[in-house]
Amino acid sequence: MSTTVLTYARVAVSALTKTYGARVAVDEVDLSLGSGIIGVLGPNGAGKTTLLRMLATVLAPDKGTISLNGLDPRVPAERVEIRRRLGFLPQSSELYPNFTPLELVDYVAVLKEHTDRDWRRREATRVLEAVGLADRMHQKIRTLSGGMQQRVALAAALLGDPELLVLDEPATGLDPEQRLELRSLLARSAGRGTVILSTHNTAEVAALCQRVLVMREGRICFTGTPGELRDLADGRVWESGGADATALRSWMTADGTFRHIGDPPAGATHVAATLDDGYLLSGAGR
């Protein structure tokens, strides 16, 4: 596997567009991403999965260009080269229930063109240990829980320390402890390349990502650091005892008070903004 040190942007996307019938899933997206962990936030149907699938070379865009590590996935030979340096975790995937995790990861390694059996066995063991499945690697996949199966798939994506790791909702099905383990695992991977992950969980983004993109209706409506996203809500969050029609959004909290975001009325009781508030305001166009 190549270990070339890259000085250019690892991921460059220009006017990327994908439509499904009349629905535009990804609409003229431009991006330039370097190394580190990049979180993609957005509501269901915002186009996150479509964007990630295009970045993973699984889905061809209708329009626009992608450059991954300087290579163009439209060119078959370059697409193969990208895939040699890529790890991809799809949003949901069936696995082979009659395989053990070790057998499955070993099989994926074969298809990733690693033909040295000894290296493959060591690497499969390493990634399975990394995702916390050291004691389960000889058990049939059908006997593993959903969260464990998700970690098997993640282990397959981590094979060979890929320079680019594309993870579509990697924390789905994981319990809080496993999420913590995932975070440290990804933090280690980010030191070697680029990790792009989609999530609904702002806490994950806050804890893990150097950059965050917010997608709504196929477009990127915010790009910056998690701190900058939270700053969007500075001075625009207040609480009261009832609903407020002037707020962009209001919701009731566990203690029965209402929390509002938007342009606060005079005399409002301001409270500290969170990343959630910033995320909710990121699509408000202000």
């Binding site: 009832g242 009731m252 029965g256 209402f258």
Partner: protein, 304 residues
Amino acid sequence: MSAGAALAVEVPVQASAPRWRVVRALARQEARRHLRSPMLPLGLAGFVYLAWVTRTSDDWSGIEYGGMPGAGVTLFLGVSLLVASSFRRERAGLVEDAPTGETTRATGRLLGAGVLVLVVAAATAVQVMVMRAGGGVDLGDEPGRTLHAHHTLPEVLQPVCVALVAVALGALLGRRVQQRAATTIALFAFWYLTAGITWLFQAAPVRPWSIVMVHPVEVRVGPHSADPLTFPEEWLLSAPDAYEPFWGRLVVSPELATAHDMWLIGLACVLVAFALPRRTRGRLLVVGGMVAAVAVIAQYAVAP
């Protein structure tokens, strides 16, 4: 009023619904899904085409009469595939946590499939009415021939009973076979052979086990060289041909047709029983098995 109290008032309390109401709701949902599927119009189009081919064909006398039940082959396949996909939903992980038991869900799915049986019944009724409106159809070879043959009621009911088998088979394969491709291939092969190539099952020893039985039944009455004018004039006759080089008498037997319908109903019960959970299948299996066994024996007994 506090917000918490307001919320408590707004949330409706979900009363547990009686079992029959759940079954009815499921059946309606399944029926609607079946009626919206493109598989049904495709099956119907095949049925109309085959009915039209047998009506307009002059390949041999009696083709329209004998081809009546087999014309539904595409419809039967469509019914089986639709019911299989309905029962395949039973394999989804979501249903494991449902408060409604598997037997209740299966009952709902089967009742929902009733709409497909009604479609087959309606299509058959139209087909038979068209034949009757024309004053009956051609049957038999000279000198034992009529231009005004009508199907008896048990014969008319045969496609409906076959539709029951189609539903039961779809339920069984949908519930018990993991691979969709395997189910599709198996159903295709089954209906291709049993309803598409009906002559395969018309030899006397295997006839009672057939799915689609072609009426009338042919009974050998004389060699190729026999003089047909020596046969009673009320007999319908089948002239010698390449495959059956003898004179035959065509016998329409309502008793045989009735027993065959009973066999199909018993078979459908047995097949459905295997689609149900193990603990609830016993009674249906025994009753269905007995009906089928008695019907097969009866067919051998009344066969002309």
